[in-house]
């Protein structure tokens, strides 16, 4: 399901609607629940973080007529929601951190289109809000370093990722020892990685990967409970609401990026 253009999903009518502030309807953005992260990608990927055009994503933060010299450096993306799905977390986080740029990363193009329209609609109907969130279609298991510089990210989210039960497919899991190296690279020391799932086996897997990884340490329970973001993990996203509706259990692993201790 790697169509290069998403036009057959929403269509132009939808785009006009979202410009007028009407939220897009999910029924026009049907997509499969899973996408193979191993397959070769056929969408454009920036060669390096320097080529990421933030003005397209956050026009209010990057006005076209920036004549300012000696101004403070342009803001950078600080939060990344990997596999953002329909964007519930971004929409929930946006008012909590109004001055922080956040991006959702999603592999399925129709879903990405939906989130794009959803954000545009929210911006149109709530002027001055939701300008700090955006979405990009990409394979974050392959291209994280193409989007972010070293130590750029302060919070990274992995909410309800694809469980990939079969052992043969474990290497498709979005949390693994190898991929944590790359996540640690783009995260600043002190940054927090949030993972949550309703699949116990996957929850254990993600926790054990993070525990084994020398660049992450578990965060104390009190601190987790005091973190306003944590509540959103199990309430904000479409997937979490589904789990709650069905009375399912969730398993989270929340860890901090630390610097390496050489013994």
């Amino acid at each position: 399901m790697t169509r290069t253009n998403g036009a057959n999903g929403g269509g132009d009518g939808q785009q006009q609607a979202s410009a007028a502030g009407k939220l897009p309807r999910k029924r026009f953005y049907r997509a499969r629940a899973h996408s193979n992260p191993l397959s070769d990608s056929h969408f454009p990927v920036p060669v390096s973080p320097d080529e990421v055009d933030l003005s397209q994503h956050y026009p209010r933060y990057f006005p076209a007529d920036k004549g300012g010299e000696g101004e403070e450096p342009p803001p950078r993306i600080r939060f990344a929601d990997v596999g953002c799905g329909f964007g519930g977390l971004l929409v929930g986080l946006s008012p909590l951190f109004p001055d922080t740029l956040m991006i959702g990363m999603e592999l399925r193009d129709k879903v990405t289109e939906y989130v794009k329209e959803r954000i545009l609609a929210l911006r149109a109907s709530n002027p001055g809000h939701y300008d700090n969130i955006s979405v990009v279609r990409t394979n974050s298991m392959k291209y994280i370093p193409n989007y972010f510089r070293k130590a750029q990210i302060t919070k990274m989210f992995f909410l309800f990722p694809d469980p990939h039960f079969k052992e043969k497919n474990h290497r498709r899991r979005v949390i693994s020892m190898q991929l944590l190296d790359e996540y640690a690279y783009v995260m600043e020391v002190g940054g927090i990685i949030y993972t949550i799932t309703d699949v116990e086996e996957l929850g254990e897997w993600m926790r054990s990967c993070l525990e084994k990884h020398p660049l992450f340490e578990a965060i104390l329970e009190e601190e987790i409970n005091a973190d306003p973001v944590v509540k959103l993990l199990s309430t904000a996203t479409e997937e979490s609401q589904k789990v709650a509706r069905n009375g399912g259990q969730t398993f989270h692993a929340i860890f901090r990026r630390i610097s390496l201790q050489e013994e």
């Binding site: 169509r3 056929h42 060669v47 193409n146 070293k150 190898q178 640690a184 020398p214 660049l215």
Partner: protein, 433 residues
């Protein structure tokens, strides 16, 4: 249209095509050429071919060797390839002291600067590490198992090198990336801290090399399928300079050979003092020399050394002790190629040093008779003395080289229709084991 072309190429199997490789001992004691499953070693000190022996009774290479390297000290040599074997040799006796079986085909191999570890990369993009230890026999068997230390997510690793100070391990892949990772004191637990990514290539990266200067500064140089050679500050992941090969190649090539796909960089080799970089290019019968200005952080075109029309080098090497640039041409695993035809051609460029090159006469290519140990060397490494007589073989190697180097590594692009068709035709779902 394009798809059919690719399809045909798939049938004839350019992905299987394996170029000949060359490596020289850092002190100039010996030189090794790999072609197909054959490893040919010549002892330059004794002036005789080496009969390498598989002491440990393990299997010898049975498929194309894809990577060879000497350790920095010259004490060890490693070879690995499509037969999923990694073999480590002691260079004083040329005994194989260790044979490691990989789960997947091996695309790159390196020995850590202290000679304690061997790392190799498999087709899944995972880098594995094994402890060499002082005496292979004393090691506990647990230590012998390779451990994975890092991974490029499902991208073939095309080059792997340790930095001159041994602090970093650099890995280049087919997805345009070069990753520079801190090599920890205890690498058995994995190399998790990434120092930088060197991003800038717009196609696969085919080769990487470190240069070091007398001031203990060191830089990374890379070549790729985008027909560029790039100079990097690898500690900070900064691109310092890019040399576009196409601009300089126009007059030396046929008009139909000047697109990126025929100008892929095949190999690079810096000179000992770091001031020069030799570049082998897919369609070019010769070597391009670039001047590497470490102070000005510039990489500039110096000159090309043209060789005979039928000679396109596939691999370059120079040793620390002499100013010779060794080049080899050859290919194996080509369609209709008999194993008896595993011929290579060897060429040496002397005075591979900047001040020597700038002399009036310019560089010359050594005649066969001028080579160290002359005919003996050629017979051992080329597989035949009078290779010019094997014109037919040479011509087919040449034709394959001109197209296959790029196809071997480039990411294939299919039209949407073709992709759907291929999905339906995929066989991994049908086969039940």
């Amino acid at each position: 249209m394009e798809d059919t072309a690719i399809e045909e190429a798939e049938v004839s199997g350019p992905a299987e095509f394996a170029p000949a490789l060359i490596a020289t001992h850092p002190q100039g004691n010996s030189v090794a050429v790999a072609i197909g499953p054959e490893l040919r070693v010549f002892d330059l000190k004794a002036g005789s071919p080496v009969l390498s022996s598989d002491d440990c009774g393990d299997r010898s290479h049975s498929d194309a060797i894809r990577a060879i390297c000497f350790s920095v000290s010259g004490a060890f040599f490693a070879s690995a390839g499509d037969d999923k074997l990694v073999k480590v040799w002691k260079t004083d006796s040329w005994c194989c002291i260790r044979t490691i079986t990989s789960e997947k085909r091996v695309s790159a191999v390196a020995i850590s600067n202290d000679g304690l570890y061997v790392t190799f990369a498999d087709k899944f993009g995972v880098v594995w590490l094994v402890t060499l230890g002082e005496d292979g026999a004393d090691q506990v068997s647990v230590d012998k198992k390779p451990v994975s230390i890092l991974g490029h997510y499902c991208s073939i690793i095309t080059g792997m090198k340790f930095s001159p100070d041994g602090r970093f391990i650099a890995t280049a892949d087919r997805d345009f990336k070069i990753r520079v990772t801190l090599f920890p004191k205890n690498p058995l637990k994995g190399a998790h801290e990434i120092q930088s990514f060197c991003l800038g290539h717009t196609d696969f990266v085919s080769c990487i090399a470190f240069t070091s200067t007398s001031e203990n500064q060191s830089f990374l140089i890379s070549g790729g399928g985008d027909s560029t050679v790039r100079l990097w500050d690898y500690v900070n992941g900064c691109l310092l300079d890019t040399c576009q090969v196409r601009d300089k190649m126009g007059e030396f090539l046929e008009p139909n050979e000047t697109d990126d796909s025929s100008l892929s960089i095949t190999d690079i080799c810096p000179s000992n003092d770091g001031s020069l970089v030799a570049v082998a290019i897919q369609s070019f019968n010769g070597v391009m020399l670039l001047a590497c200005d470490i102070v000005g952080k510039k990489l500039s075109f110096l000159k090309v050394i043209t060789m005979e029309k039928s000679y396109i080098p596939t691999s370059l090497s120079s040793s620390f002790s002499s100013e010779l640039l060794w080049t080899v041409m050859g290919a194996s695993n080509m369609p209709n190629q008999a194993s008896s035809q595993l011929l290579t051609r060897l060429r040496i460029i002397p005075c591979f040093q900047k001040d020597l090159l700038s002399s009036e006469n310019g560089p010359v290519i050594l005649e066969d008779s001028e080579l160290p140990h002359g005919e003996k060397l050629l017979l051992a490494l080329q597989g035949s003395l009078d290779i010019a007589k094997q014109e037919e073989v040479l011509a087919s190697v040449l034709a394959a080289l001109k197209v296959s180097m790029h196809k071997m590594l480039v990411k294939k692009h299919y039209s949407e229709e073709r992709r759907e068709q291929r999905k339906r035709g995929r066989n991994d779902k049908k086969i039940k084991n």
